[in-house]
């Protein structure tokens, strides 16, 4: 089971994360989950095979401050989240502007659950087959 070690806010997240890095914590990844009312953003760090998870609850429409300035490997993950969830990340070292993973003609923000609108994968019409 995953344990959330600490809940952080937009205001104190940079200093909380910056305090982990000098203690040899390794940045593992970030996970974003759309929970309808807001986004849950998990920051995973590793020290000696122990996972430390920080949780940030981000309101929909709010801007996410980038941690790529203090933690360079977060850059690719933040760009990915910006692509897939439509969360605007401010202060990115390198901003791919919504086309990091997605092609120009791909559906935008595929992971974002807009209330009342379900994004689902359309099945192609079944053809052929044999008895």
């Amino acid at each position: 089971m995953m344990t959330v070690n600490e809940v952080i806010t937009i205001d104190n997240m940079i200093e909380k994360i910056a305090s982990l890095l000098p203690r040899h914590y390794r940045f593992v990844t970030m996970t974003a989950v759309d929970v309808d009312t807001h986004f849950d953003l998990y920051y995973h760090f590793d020290l000696d095979y122990e996972l430390t998870t920080l949780l940030l609850k981000l309101d929909k429409g709010a801007k996410l401050p980038s941690i790529s300035g203090i933690c360079p490997p977060a850059l690719v993950v933040e760009n990915e989240i910006q692509d897939l969830f439509g969360i605007v990340v401010s202060g990115l070292n390198l901003d791919y502007r919504d086309h990091f993973l997605l092609a120009t003609d791909a559906p935008a923000r595929p992971f974002c659950r807009v209330p009342g609108v379900s994004v689902s994968i359309v099945e192609t019409e079944k053809t052929g087959g044999e008895k």
Binding site: E123, K126, T127, G128, G129, E130, K131
Partner: protein, 102 residues
């Protein structure tokens, strides 16, 4: 400083038989239990539709009464054999791709 370390191997390869086969004329027999393609014994099937529900790639379509049919789209199949395990009548089988049935 070591040079030409692979020389011995080259000599060995030069004087040994070719490692490859003349493919279309000489085909490697397949291993026992190879998952090559899916076949069905149509007369045993009871059209329950469990295989279609288990299939991860939606390759199977089973229609129940009145027009009983079992449809299989080969190009969608990922050869995982989930349907074979799920079949209550054991009428689905995974056979080698060299098998003449199916």
């Amino acid at each position: 400083m070591k040079l030409f370390t692979i020389f011995k191997d080259i000599v060995r390869n030069t004087f040994s038989k070719p490692y490859t086969r003349n493919y279309p004329t000489e085909i490697r027999p397949s291993f026992e239990g190879e998952r090559g393609k899916l076949i069905i014994e149509g007369e045993k099937c009871i059209y329950c539709g469990i295989c279609a529900r288990k299939c991860p790639s939606n390759a199977l379509v089973v229609t129940k009464k009145p027009d009983q049919s079992w449809q299989f789209e080969r190009y969608r199949c990922i050869l995982c054999a989930a349907c074979v395990e799920a079949c209550p009548k054991k009428c689905l089988h995974m056979v080698s791709r060299l098998d003449e049935r199916g």
